[in-house]
Symmetry: C2
């Protein structure tokens, strides 16, 4: 069915050398007489030979492939993370095996196992919702795991994430500096590490500012436009004097924007709205979103670098926290 591919023995026979010599030429290992080398190279070229990575991997135990597990590649944030990771991988001759889990724990586990079976050299696991001890079990058994948007756990090579806590604090401080004290944090769905970090940032900033009780509130919501819309509608309804909506991410913020329009609240005059991520959406909605930028591609790239360093023998755990930065636009000037 498939055209039979040329093997190393075909090349060896044709070049009248042993497969060993061909292998050496291929890998640049051991001394080879230049003429032999040239000759073999010529035959390889003429036959259009390409080594079978599978066979090689079977003996070297290396596949030059990294598994990347994300909740949903359709989410622009993760798409950018994956893009950053794949770029770095490609530069180093590695490939990326991609899995979506929708943050369903069972799917995270099965993706992990499926990917492991293919003998990837490492795994980048994004925004995992697995319980910490389960995660530690996996990373202890399976070397070469890097976490993204998650705190480091025992056994992992390390973790890469944006400084969600500081980013959220910046956003709150900006609101306070503009005199907006009656703030509701539309905090997304609880449970994940980045959720915890942002909540922590919110609370710290509020505490530091010594607000009156009741001025700052937290409301959970589903982390998409509809969730943001519903939550914001509820807030606008029950808390007529709210001055700012701080949102878990840009998607939530966009829903909130819509709720404001409906409730005849002008943004930013009546209500400030702030998002999170600075996704492609943020600068495209009207009014343009003030939002906390996370260095998305860089997160992916750094995670891949961490992994490749590890594969090259570097040791020790690494916890890389990339700065998040408030980008001020029209929705909260």
């Amino acid at each position: 069915m498939r055209a039979p591919r040329i093997t190393i023995s075909d090349v060896a026979r044709e070049a009248k050398v042993s497969t060993q010599t061909v292998s050496r030429v291929l890998n640049g290992k051991g001394e080879i007489r230049p003429e032999t080398r040239e000759h073999v190279l010529a035959v390889i070229d003429r036959l259009g030979y390409r080594p079978n990575a599978l066979a090689r991997s079977l003996v070297t135990n290396r596949t030059a492939t990294v598994g990347v597990i994300v909740p949903d590649i359709g989410n622009p944030f993760f798409a950018d993370v994956v893009r950053g990771a794949e770029d770095t991988a490609r530069e180093h001759g590695f490939n990326v095996l991609l899995c979506n889990t929708d943050q369903i724990p069972e799917r995270e586990e099965s993706a992990f196992l499926a990917i492991e079976d293919k003998w990837v050299d490492g795994i980048i696991l994004c925004a995992s919702r697995l319980p910490d001890e389960r995660l530690a079990q996996l990373t202890r058994r399976r070397q070469g795991v890097v976490l993204v948007s998650h705190e480091p756990v025992e056994g992992a090579v390390g973790a890469v994430r944006a400084d969600d806590e500081a980013g959220t604090m910046q956003a709150v401080q900006h609101l306070l500096a503009r005199g907006r004290r009656r703030i509701t944090f539309l905090a997304g769905k609880p449970g994940g590490p980045s959720h915890r970090a942002r909540l922590r940032g919110f609370e710290r900033a509020i505490l530091a500012a010594a607000l009156e009780p009741g001025e700052a509130q937290v409301q959970y919501c589903v982390s998409n436009p509809t969730g943001g819309y519903l939550a914001a509608r509820d807030v606008l309804d029950t808390r007529r004097d709210v001055e700012a909506l701080l949102c878990f991410n840009d998607l939530v913020a966009i829903g909130a924007l819509r709720a404001c329009v409906e409730a005849k609240q002008t943004v930013p005059e009546d209500v400030y709205v702030i998002g999170f991520d600075d996704s492609i959406l943020a600068s495209m909605v009207q009014p343009q979103l003030t939002t906390v930028r996370r260095p998305k591609q860089e997160v992916g790239a750094r995670a891949m670098e961490l992994l490749l360093d590890y594969l090259n023998g570097s040791t020790g755990q690494h916890d890389i926290v990339l700065p998040a930065k408030l980008v001020i636009r029209a929705s909260a000037p």
Copy 2:
């Protein structure tokens, strides 16, 4: 470095059977005495054995992995296509190897080769910009290639695309039905197959309507918001009576929207604006975009199905054209 994994011989020894028997249990091939089967299964479970897919692939010539090559996973359209493809792959026990090419022909080729070296069972190539004859060379040599957003070429299993031509015609007809005859098509960057299809649709619809000469115009532009902005600004500047901007995709449309605001042209009163894709952005901008919806996830899913069918022995070339549909929103009611 890596914990030595358990092999099939470990299981065989422990269960006091041959590796063959274990293999049969694993693959459900051949008759096995139920008790033996149970026993082997128990040992497998106790040892936590997982078969090495690499070794298996080396002999079966199958990897249960499909390569997917896209211009840029950061583009929401391709992210959705990949998501659809990966979902289908997962349902069938397949994995996805992902590559970004930025539509640079050399990168397309090297991705193709790199992926081939890993012995993927097939390749899904999206929106290729390779010349047709080069593409045909690749697909002739390499079985199991499915094209996305491209016409079928010789040697390929088939192609899956949205009906860009009909979609564009719908959009034009909608404009004409609303009495908008002075239309400029911001046609994106020429060269790709979907570009050609949309242009064809535009021309056909215009021809059928027997417009006055000069009423319909075409202007090329870079296919992103900035490109759309610049092109629209130019049009608005030089053609004050333009009644509608038909855009190559939603990104271009968003740029056009901005240009309209700047030029003090109200959308849709003064100028109608129509996008293409119905990406996540379309319903999030103000005014919400009328746009031609392409079934993104379905495109990916159908492409993967085509490939899996082929791998299961189905033959013949397939050209799947999925309907594109105008979604009417505020920017062109």
